[in-house]
Symmetry: D2
Subunit: 402 residues, 4 copies
Amino acid sequence: MDFSLSPIAQDYCDRVRRFMDEEIRPVEHAYHRELQQRDDKWVVLPIIRELKAKARAAGLWNMFLPDAELGAGLSVTDYAPVAELTGQSAIAPEIFNCNAPDTGNMEVLYHYGSDTQKAEWLTPLLAGEIRSAFCMTEPDVASSDATNMAATALIEGDEVVLNGRKWWSTGIGHPDCRVLIFMGLTDPGAHRHAQHSMVLVPKDAPGVRVTRMLQTMGMYDEPYGHGEVEFNNVRLPVSNIIAGPGRGFEIAQGRLGPGRIHHCMRLIGLAELALQLMCERGTARQAFGKPLVNLGGNRERIADARMMIEQARLLVLKAAWLIDQRGVMAAMSEISQIKVICPNVAQTVVDMAMQIHGGAGLSEDTPLAMAWTAARALRLADGPDEVHRGLVAKFELMKYRG
Amino acid sequence: MDFSLSPIAQDYCDRVRRFMDEEIRPVEHAYHRELQQRDDKWVVLPIIRELKAKARAAGLWNMFLPDAELGAGLSVTDYAPVAELTGQSAIAPEIFNCNAPDTGNMEVLYHYGSDTQKAEWLTPLLAGEIRSAFCMTEPDVASSDATNMAATALIEGDEVVLNGRKWWSTGIGHPDCRVLIFMGLTDPGAHRHAQHSMVLVPKDAPGVRVTRMLQTMGMYDEPYGHGEVEFNNVRLPVSNIIAGPGRGFEIAQGRLGPGRIHHCMRLIGLAELALQLMCERGTARQAFGKPLVNLGGNRERIADARMMIEQARLLVLKAAWLIDQRGVMAAMSEISQIKVICPNVAQTVVDMAMQIHGGAGLSEDTPLAMAWTAARALRLADGPDEVHRGLVAKFELMKYRG
Amino acid sequence: MDFSLSPIAQDYCDRVRRFMDEEIRPVEHAYHRELQQRDDKWVVLPIIRELKAKARAAGLWNMFLPDAELGAGLSVTDYAPVAELTGQSAIAPEIFNCNAPDTGNMEVLYHYGSDTQKAEWLTPLLAGEIRSAFCMTEPDVASSDATNMAATALIEGDEVVLNGRKWWSTGIGHPDCRVLIFMGLTDPGAHRHAQHSMVLVPKDAPGVRVTRMLQTMGMYDEPYGHGEVEFNNVRLPVSNIIAGPGRGFEIAQGRLGPGRIHHCMRLIGLAELALQLMCERGTARQAFGKPLVNLGGNRERIADARMMIEQARLLVLKAAWLIDQRGVMAAMSEISQIKVICPNVAQTVVDMAMQIHGGAGLSEDTPLAMAWTAARALRLADGPDEVHRGLVAKFELMKYRG
Amino acid sequence: MDFSLSPIAQDYCDRVRRFMDEEIRPVEHAYHRELQQRDDKWVVLPIIRELKAKARAAGLWNMFLPDAELGAGLSVTDYAPVAELTGQSAIAPEIFNCNAPDTGNMEVLYHYGSDTQKAEWLTPLLAGEIRSAFCMTEPDVASSDATNMAATALIEGDEVVLNGRKWWSTGIGHPDCRVLIFMGLTDPGAHRHAQHSMVLVPKDAPGVRVTRMLQTMGMYDEPYGHGEVEFNNVRLPVSNIIAGPGRGFEIAQGRLGPGRIHHCMRLIGLAELALQLMCERGTARQAFGKPLVNLGGNRERIADARMMIEQARLLVLKAAWLIDQRGVMAAMSEISQIKVICPNVAQTVVDMAMQIHGGAGLSEDTPLAMAWTAARALRLADGPDEVHRGLVAKFELMKYRG
């Protein structure tokens, strides 16, 4: 049993922390204000491109990818504390080229892509030159049950033909978004886990139409956004299918493991930030003759926040370690567990922090309101809490089968 | 003990429900879409003016005001279930001229205003011709402790001179907003509850400047909005003070009682709407071969929602009844209790409803996302949960004093 | 809407409160100590018989029975606040002859018993001369699903023959217990709600054997207790069936309505007692230089306790009022709601009170440890929380059926 | 980062698990029944002595003690998973000579005892020949604040004179209990942390009187028990003071670190047992045509239990690792955190398991009722939740001090 960071993880954490302190935090508030004041917010402001170049030059780039040549060569466990740090800023993940859904899409291409697919899409993605989206969830069915999926990816000769409606395609609003990974039903007669295919779709392919950008709690999250997308007889060569027809489900499973570690660690980072703001505000501001932390149950809330965060972080790290040691399949229960726990912990800690900030906590004057919405949304993204609780129970009860 | 609605409450409920079903619900979604698509959202769309006229003609107007001549003559208890109904729509309160903060401001003028003040401001407010704001909370101090208030309303000869910064002045963005009620420190040497004054301030008085509109979770809530306002040597005749110098605190106390009943009952209405949407979606949509309500703990959540709502409603009604029977001062603990309970109940039920809606629950396709933000914000507006819990405890412990 | 007590309820409350203050509280601690020190605790100590006589003489007797001649003529609503008071003492219910399960059993006999049955059992029960038990729950099946019931009450000619095992037959250990109401399956072919019968069984009937008294959290709750009972070919005349064969389910339903009101209001009383002890201890004892109430979140907990109690009480009262106004069937959802809420509220408030008492809260020096166990057990007695939540959801969803 | 057990921890876990499966579990139920049926329960039944001998022979003895010669040489981290296993049985800790408070007392003697003290008391304690108690908590003050301590240990020449009343002296009822460690005030003028002394007191010293055994939720927990003890001018040589006058506080701090790890890991074991029983019962028993696990929110509860346990265990292990790596002082926040978390997790999981067992969960037919009471009591023992939350907050806020 060893709870210390490995030297390489420690090194990356130190450097990322320094980069964030020196380069990102000082400009972040101004960035958001500038974006907010633009009429067209679907843009990449120059500061982002500058910081991306700096991060790349500093070797803080593609740290999510375990490959030592293409990425930083960090294990999932070693990348986890790095992801935690990047979660404290809304723009840091993009700057380090470690932003969802691109990370997951790059991993898919890395593990399952053909050489041609890699050359066309993985290379520019790793270079941060283009961005991508993932089109899985559908508006007309409960997508938490994958067998509900109605969109189709039918093979007709040399072509695969895509039809259907997707939504919550995150990042599709970004001006650099060039490629979508689409998941659809190819063979309803096959085994339950071999019916779907994943297909690479150039965003400008005929038949692809973003019908609207969706609000999350009234916000568009520009310049990334979440789109509703129509696929209307989109015809592509079968070579655009990733790893061949029928392997969509398998790829999706593998994709989600490390991706959830990243999401969860970023949420831990967000929760840490909220706790920090809570302590700072609570000691700086007075009411009824005392600093706020000394009023009512505020200290107990600080303690609860600390306890929730510590526990959640350890479980994410253990899940990461299991993935590294035994593979994603051996960590399925833990992955579902953290998927439930982390957004809830982040939401709860942010909620407490908002209360101690009063009206400022609701406003744009602190990062709390955005953090709150982000954490809340992640209780649904990648499957609602309830579905993951169901999976955890299923794994638990499997121990008691004859 | 009698839990039935009085005949007059029943009659108003029936008429309001019908008006909402026939006039408001059919246009509501289109209203929001139209507003959303405008560049300038700080406007009153024609449909609102039309519906206000219809509501007034139908006698569904100023129902919050117990005065039988100027309002509908409903007691606080009788108005409560009406407020619950109007809480199910974001635009209904304005249509019935029962919208915060105007209701509270009208009550203040009704109870404490001079004849001149009434003629100038109460009459057009009751007619729905103008709107108002309430300027109490300040950005630089913990406003939950009224003694922190830094803004001043100093008497100089015949004039009262206002200085200071206020924020979260709700409704100040509305194009019809004409008058503000400002609260400031007049006499720091007076008894703790006699130091402040309330002053009527024409919105266009020299020295008044709305420095920005505040976002709540990224939204401006147009066309009402919440403003940050600078008062820079605003000079007004002393006759603009309501009820005379030093009575601000007393008026504020009285103002908040019925106002909280209204807020709380609207939140009950919101929670009922969320529960309804939850049941409808949960029975209509399938996953894993079953309607969603039959999955996991969804039925238990429906039961929990029902139980929370029933209990909260009864306590609001009891608080209303106490105000009617014994006055606001006798109901202080109950008023603080419901101020804690109702936003939390609404937030919790809306949260459950969002989960069962999946991504749709976060989007503009249901009223849930707005409801969620509204309920969350009301855990801070009119004093954070923690302050009200402190008051409830204080009242409880007073029973045990020698 | 009227939240005041009726004059008759007020009068009974005043008299019961006085009787408890003057007669019961002063002797209660000594009673428990005396009982505790006896080897045989399955006895009625003389003080109980004395107090019963005094209570009867004072007209504080059978107050649960709405019949004005046999009982006090109180409606369910009017009796509710009386039951709340009696819930603050472990011995008060017996002293007022208002103790479960006798109250429910008397109501069954009152509403469904034949004249002979009444003469034989109801009269001495009303006189407090004998006591009774109710034999429904079974050890070998999940009794929350009544259709699981395995015990039989088969008709053979003029006789009904009982077989099966029951447990949690409360009160069966009492030395005055003379009669059991047994529920068993008579006709498996009948409609789901017409298969069972209720049968009056003299405790000393051949074939009846109490195989053991059950511990609840290690305690026997002498002299009442909960028994496991074997019915082995118990043969009784068919005239011992209450209201005729097949009516068991119907009687059970009616029995549970007012019974749950009583249980719930007693739990409210218990919660009030715990809150009182919490406030008293919290103001009397010091740590870290302050009274305990001023430490950490203690005041928030006091507020939470007050809010929970207020809400729960109102819902019980509303359920009682619904039973009075529209009958048990119209109040089924509310009855299940309070059955979930009240034991949980009592358990939670007692838990808080225990914490503030430190070790004393766990010991026999306060009534808290017993209250804790009682509240916990009532989350299972009369159906577990989960089953009642299921019923509440069922009633809720019925509103949305085509 | 490494989440695997060390080889030595794995080896001890395997052997302890086997010993428990083969020797303890088969006799445990009979042991409790036999004890229960005795009039005098303050005895050591022969089976306990037999099993102690077997455990000692198997080298499963004093595993808590890191000393390789006197104990098993396990680090705190390595012993933790062993303690988890022993927590699944109420008698296992004694059988392995790893029972509180003896473990803590042995550690005190090991680290701070003089050679004479060790020879007299540590040797027979390590041999399991005698047992001990710890006398710190007092009935008349809030003992969570150590400065409240009223008992005295005054030096008079060569003697130390003890006076005062202690309670919750666990284990003092055991027939083999021979020695008490008493903590009292020696020098009120000294620095806050140097005022108290710890004194070794033979149980039969003149002036020591166990005035009563205390009930915990109505139970005496024979043959260990919790005593109230009077120290009336107990005169002992100053050589009975451990480590010299004024070092009581320092010793107490060190004593509590590993002791809390043990307690917490045993609670994790208890929670695991409850979860196991919950799954077994939930799959074995049917209601409404389904196994109980498939009803209502039961699967979500199973998932919640699994998530709580995983997180709590990891935090205990991390705290243990911190103690091993950096000492108790560096782990103070984590120790307080687990002291809050583990009893609550155990109580919550046991609570869920009880619900799924229905009445059986309350009775002596499952270990749940005892587990419930044990977990509940541990929310107060060694300091109430609230005090530890306060400490966690204090450590957190220290990060923000100038």
